[in-house]
C-alpha cells in the first residue's frame, strides 16, 4: 500500500465519473450523503460514492490520512484534537448540527427510569457515560453542568459505546448518559428522561460533525474536493427540508427498529459549518485539557 493520498487506484476517473470512498459511521448524521447519493447530487458532479461504514475515528482517520478513503466523517472535537496534534486533516463539508431547541435536541443527557436526577447540576458526584472520554460528550456535559451552576470536575465519566448506554442506565451502572439518537429514543421508550441538552448548551448551532479529507489530498485535488463539498451542501440542504425522506433513507443503511424510527429527533443539516460554535467547542476543549493549545481553525475549516 502507498501513503500517496492521490487515491489513484480507486479515485481514478472512469468514464467521466470518479469513484470516491467515504468512511462513515452508520448513524443519523450521515443520512444526507446517502440521500444525496440517491438523489443523484453526487452523480451530477461526476462523483460516484462508495460509502464504507466503520466504527469510528480509529479506522476512518488513518484511512483518510493514508488515502485509502478520500473523505471521512468525524465529530468536530476529534478533528480539533487531530489538528492540534498536527494530523493533517482538513474539513471539507458540514455534517450535522444541534437542532437548536433546548429539550428537543437529537442528543441529550438522559437518566434511567425512576432516577431522582432532574438537572445537570445534580450530576456532581455521579457517574455519566460517554462514548469516548476527552471528546465532545464529556466536554459538552461539563458545559451543561457549569451552566446549571455545578462543578463539572465532580462528575465522573465512564466510557462505553452508545448502544450499551440504555442497558447501563437500566442496570444502574451509570447515573446518566450522553445519548444521541437512536439511543436517546431507546432510553425514552424505556421510561428514561432527558435532563439537559448538552450539545445545545455548548452552542444552539453546534456543528457536531463534519466531513474531512487529508490536507495533501485537498492540495492535490482541489476540483474533486470542491465537487464533493458542493454535492454535500446540496444534499444537506435537501435533507434538512425532507425529514421524511431522511427517515426513509435510514432504513437502508441502519437497522433502527421501526418502532423507534418515528420517534427519532433528527439533527439539523446546515449546509455550512458554524464557525462560532466550533470556536466555542475549541475553547471548551482547551479548558478541559483535550489539547494544550487550541488548534488553528483556519487550517481546519474549509
Amino acid at each position: 500500500g502507498s501513503s500517496d493520498p492521490g487515491g489513484k487506484d480507486t479515485a481514478g476517473p472512469s468514464g467521466g465519473t470518479t469513484t470516491v470512498k467515504v468512511g462513515v459511521v452508520p448513524v443519523l448524521d450521515v443520512a444526507p450523503v446517502y440521500l444525496g447519493e440517491k438523489q443523484g447530487f453526487y452523480a451530477d458532479r461526476g462523483l460516484e460514492l462508495e460509502l464504507v461504514p466503520a466504527q469510528g475515528g480509529a479506522a476512518i482517520v488513518p484511512g483518510v490520512i493514508s488515502g485509502q478513503f478520500q473523505f471521512g466523517f468525524s465529530n468536530t472535537t476529534s478533528l480539533l484534537v487531530a489538528r492540534s496534534k498536527n494530523v493533517p486533516v482538513k474539513a471539507v463539508a458540514n455534517g450535522a448540527a444541534s437542532t437548536g431547541e433546548d429539550g428537543a435536541d437529537f442528543a441529550a443527557i438522559t437518566v434511567g427510569k425512576g432516577s431522582p436526577l432532574t438537572s445537570a447540576k445534580q450530576l456532581e458526584g455521579k457517574k455519566a457515560a460517554v462514548n469516548t472520554l476527552n471528546n465532545v460528550c464529556d466536554t459538552s456535559i461539563r458545559e451543561s453542568v457549569r451552566k446549571d451552576g455545578g462543578d463539572p470536575s465532580k462528575v465522573e465519566f465512564v466510557e462505553m459505546p452508545f448502544d450499551r448506554m440504555p442497558a447501563a442506565l437500566d442496570g444502574g451502572q451509570v447515573d446518566a448518559a450522553c445519548t444521541p439518537e437512536p439511543a436517546l429514543a431507546t432510553v425514552k421508550a424505556a421510561g428514561g428522561k432527558e435532563i439537559a441538552s448538552n450539545f445545545h448548551d455548548v452552542s444552539p448551532d453546534l456543528t457536531v460533525a463534519m466531513y474531512f479529507t487529508s490536507q495533501q489530498f485537498a492540495g492535490k485535488n482541489p476540483d474533486l474536493v470542491k465537487k464533493f463539498r458542493e454535492a454535500t451542501a446540496e444534499s444537506l440542504k435537501y435533507a434538512d427540508s425532507h425529514p421524511e425522506e431522511v427517515r426513509q433513507i435510514l432504513t437502508t443503511y441502519t437497522k433502527i427498529p421501526a418502532t423507534l424510527l418515528e420517534k427519532l429527533t433528527l439533527p439539523r443539516y446546515p449546509a455550512e459549518p458554524d464557525r462560532a460554535s466550533i470556536e466555542r467547542l475549541a475553547e471548551l476543549g482547551e479548558r478541559d485539557g483535550l489539547f494544550e493549545k487550541a488548534p488553528n481553525l483556519d487550517e481546519l475549516l474549509p
Partner: protein
C-alpha cells in the same frame, strides 16, 4: 572424573551470557531495522522510532506506572488465574468423560467463536462495568487454550500408565493429581503459555469499555487523541510485559516440567 568445579561455574556464567546474547541479538537487529526504516517518516501513524523512544520515559514513569500499569497487571493476574483454574478443572472433566465432552463441546465451541468486542457488552449486562467485568473478559478469553489443551492432554494419557494407576487402586483425587494432570502437564503448559499473551490482548480489549485507567485504556486514549508516538510506546510496553511474563512463566515451567525436559532430552546425542 567429572568436570572440575571451577570450570563448571565458569561454564555456567558462559551459558548465562550466551543465553543473554541469544535473547538480545534478534531484537537488536529488528530494532535497528525499524529505526532505519522509520527514520525519515513523516506519516503521523508511523513515527520515527527515535521519537517513540524519546517519549517513552516521559509516558511510562511515575503516576502512569502505578495508576495504569499496576491495575492492569492485577486484573490480568486475576483473570489469568481464574482462567487457568477453570480451564484445567473443566478440561479435566471434559477430557475424562467422552459423554460430557459430547454434551458440552457444541456449546463451548459456540461461545468460543463469539468475538470479545461483542461479548464484552453482554458480560457487562451481568458483571457490571467494574473490575469484575474486566477480569471476566480476560478470563473468558484465556480459558480456551487452557481448556482445549487440557482436554487433549487428558485424553492422551498413556494407556499403560492409566492401567497402572487403576490396578493399584489409584483413583479419585490421587489419580487426578498424580497421574492425569501430571501426564497432561506438557500440553496444559502449552495452553497456559498461549493464554498468557491472549490475556494481555484481552486486558487491552476489556479496557476499551467502561474503563477509567489501565494500560489498554491509556493506549486507546492515545490512539483517539492522536498521540501516536505515545500509542506506540504503549504497544512496545505491551510487548515488554509479554516478554517479562513469559520469562517468569518459563521459570515456573522449568520447575514443573523438569522431568519432561529431562525425559525428552535423554534422546539427544550430546546431553
Amino acid at each position: 572424573m567429572g568436570v572440575p568445579p571451577a570450570r563448571r561455574t565458569s561454564g555456567m556464567w558462559g551459558k548465562a551470557l550466551l543465553r543473554l546474547v541469544f535473547a538480545l541479538a534478534l531484537p537488536a537487529v529488528l530494532v535497528a531495522l525499524w529505526w532505519a526504516a522509520s527514520a525519515g517518516s513523516t506519516n503521523v501513524y508511523w513515527p520515527p522510532l527515535r521519537t517513540v523512544f524519546g517519549v517513552f520515559p516521559d509516558v511510562w514513569t511515575g503516576e502512569r506506572l502505578r495508576g495504569d500499569v499496576l491495575p492492569s497487571v492485577l486484573r490480568l493476574a486475576a483473570g489469568y488465574t481464574a482462567a487457568a483454574v477453570a480451564g484445567v478443572a473443566l478440561g479435566t472433566v471434559i477430557g475424562s468423560w467422552r459423554r460430557v465432552r459430547a454434551l458440552c463441546e457444541p456449546v463451548l465451541e459456540f461461545l468460543r467463536a463469539v468475538p470479545p468486542p461483542v461479548l464484552v457488552p453482554v458480560i457487562m449486562l451481568f458483571a457490571g462495568i467494574g473490575d469484575t467485568m474486566k477480569i471476566a473478559v480476560i478470563a473468558s478469553g484465556c480459558v480456551w487454550p487452557v481448556l482445549l489443551n487440557t482436554v487433549e492432554g487428558v485424553r492422551a494419557v498413556d494407556p499403560v500408565l492409566a492401567e497402572t494407576a487403576r490396578s493399584y487402586g489409584i483413583t479419585g483425587v490421587a489419580r487426578l493429581r498424580d497421574v492425569v494432570l501430571r501426564s497432561a502437564s506438557p500440553q496444559i503448559f502449552a495452553g497456559l503459555r498461549q493464554a498468557l499473551s491472549i490475556g494481555i490482548i484481552l486486558m487491552v480489549i476489556s479496557e476499551m469499555f467502561a474503563a477509567g485507567n489501565g494500560l489498554g485504556f491509556t493506549i486507546v486514549q492515545f490512539q483517539r487523541g492522536f498521540a501516536i508516538p505515545d500509542m506506540w510506546t504503549g504497544i512496545l510496553l505491551l510487548g515488554l510485559l509479554g516478554f517479562l511474563l513469559s520469562v517468569l512463566f518459563g521459570l515456573a515451567e522449568r520447575r514443573v516440567l523438569g522431568w519432561y525436559h529431562g525425559l525428552r532430552a535423554s534422546g539427544r546425542r550430546s546431553p
